[in-house]
Symmetry: C2
Subunit: 349 residues, 2 copies
């Protein structure tokens, strides 16, 4: 049995890394040793002033001091100190970091941008929580794949005959404002299916899924148009919400019909960083006829993988075997449930 709190290091402090760090700080089962930061920027400055210990590469110490940050130490010290490592480095950097991790013999949670071949398990809570226990290298699939798999595994893999999804993805994150497209719609695939289908199959091996993706000039959420051919009978949206354990929530588009308005809801709720941890399904797009389910959902690219990143730690560290207890604990950490509470009174719309 692992001693609680589990000591955690976060390697990389961008969009995902900073959110994992915040979540670890709020969770008594874990203790944040510190974060590895490679660029002396405003994120580093805010983290340092919030009391987060910053570890940096040897050659960057002076650059951090120049913006007023006294680094706690070098990155290898941080990794040695931790019992669990999150690799939240830019896509493709994780495989390079792995050489370091190999020496350390510690469990590492990678992100969806890494190649699945570098890990033992690609992961999404509602699909394969139990498969990560005792594993050393696990990868939480990307935001779009997490959004898709939450639906698929809530429906039950055994009940899904085929999935076809069109992903209309945001161009970049709000603070990452140098990427395009800025006024054009870009094909986000080299072939059909796009990599999202292949990614989903790293978690659910024999899934019959096809995905097509385009990128649009927005920083606020992805939108998925989903068609699911069911083997058995149709379900309703309330059942989907329920079997997702609250990770999927329905809102009628009369109340919010743009991703901008959904983010505004997160702002009005006082969510930290206006994060939406839930898949938002537009209630009135949910239709199921002749065993074909169609829906449109929005997925907040910055936030959606964060609950799964915390769930996985309970599995990988052998802290809890029951997935429902993990989800319930993590949901309450993120106030998942509040949106359902607020919008369940939609009544007769």
């Amino acid at each position: 049995m692992v001693k609680i709190p589990v000591k955690v290091a976060v390697n990389g402090y961008g969009t995902i890394g900073k959110r994992i760090a915040t979540s670890i700080l709020r969770n008594d089962d874990f203790k944040l040793v510190g974060v590895a930061k490679y660029t002396p920027d405003y994120r580093a400055l805010i983290a340092a002033r919030q009391g987060i210990k910053i570890y940096v590469p040897r050659e960057k110490v002076e650059a951090f001091k120049a913006i007023g940050i006294e680094p706690e130490g070098y990155i290898d010290y941080l990794l040695e100190e931790a019992e669990l490592i999150y690799d939240a480095s830019p896509a493709g950097q994780g495989v390079k970091n792995k050489k370091l991790y190999d020496k350390l013999k510690k469990p590492v949670v990678f992100q969806g941008g890494e190649d699945p071949s570098i890990v033992e398990v690609s992961y999404s809570t509602l699909c394969n929580y139990s498969s990560v226990q005792g594993k050393r290298y696990v990868r939480v699939v990307s935001c779009n794949t997490t959004g898709l798999l939450r639906i698929i595994c809530s429906l039950g893999v055994e009940n899904v005959k085929r999935v076809f999804a069109t992903i209309i993805r945001r161009a970049s994150d709000p603070g990452e404002d140098l990427k395009g497209p800025i006024n054009s719609i870009k094909l986000d695939l080299e072939q059909i299916p796009s990599h999202h289908a292949l990614d989903a199959k790293t978690v659910v091996r024999d899934l019959n899924i096809e995905t097509v993706a385009v990128a649009v000039p927005s920083t606020l959420m992805h939108v998925h148009v989903l068609e699911v051919f069911l083997k058995d009978k149709c379900i309703d949206v309330a059942t989907l919400e329920k079997s997702s354990q609250g990770r999927v929530v329905a809102i009628h588009s009369k109340l919010a019909d743009t991703t901008g308005k959904l983010i505004e809801i997160a702002r009005d709720l006082g969510r930290f960083r206006n994060d939406l941890y839930e898949n938002i399904v537009f209630t009135n797009t949910f239709t199921c006829r002749n065993n074909v389910l169609t829906l449109i959902q929005a997925v907040h690219q910055e936030a959606i993988v964060i609950p799964e990143n915390i769930d996985v730690a309970y599995g990988i560290m052998n802290l809890e075997t029951d997935v429902y207890r993990v989800i319930s604990k993590v949901n309450s950490l993120f106030s998942i449930g509040i949106i359902k509470q607020i919008f369940s009174g939609e009544g007769s719309i």
Copy 2:
């Protein structure tokens, strides 16, 4: 002497109204009776679930019930109950509401979208706090004008010979995503100067100011390019920050050179609704030579007028005569000062 807490009604619950309501809820000197809401939308639903009492027009009761809101009463009940009214209705609606207010004989704070002729005083804290005491109709000038006047009145009106400002304004607010321009730069004026210069003069009558405005496809903050001809000698940016009582803060553009990144700072700080209440001056754009001061600043359109809206209540209700004590109290309500604390360690950048 008015009894504390002062009972407040907020008439209109959009971008500004909801922020005023939140601020009133957090301030023990005031008590929110409720808000007047005209459209049954997600804002209303969230407010209702947060325990805010919703008052609606007689003919809208059923529409609110249909989305699961039980209105507290009609809007005229709300206005009768309050001792101070904020009119946060859409621009131009305030003058129509005024007929109601005339009968009520209560102080009303209007917003910058209203014509200055309907009020006794147009207001900006650092310029004319003392002029609102005991007044009945006061108007807090718009976001852009507030941003300009904070600089001008911090410099001291008597020291300003002439101001020339280019306003690059955001197209609309994040949740108000149906306005343009979406991929074009739009002249935002009928003549030179744009209305912002005229608006500034409603507060500082004989100000020599010219403004030019264009609208760009963004929802994240306005940017002002300011040229101020000083009568006396140059000052440095630290002096400007200090004389603004913390309402103006400098950040080096090496740490954040886009409005997207500034909003990201507000998100990382955990600011409610990611609001930036401070003018953000880019440190390295601040130059003063031969009595000509130049700077670039960013102004968060949704949030910048909120401190001034709370300040003014202390003046209009005769709760406090000393402007510095009011600012200090309101600053601490909004954690104004935290950004200065974080970025003051910029060191040798």
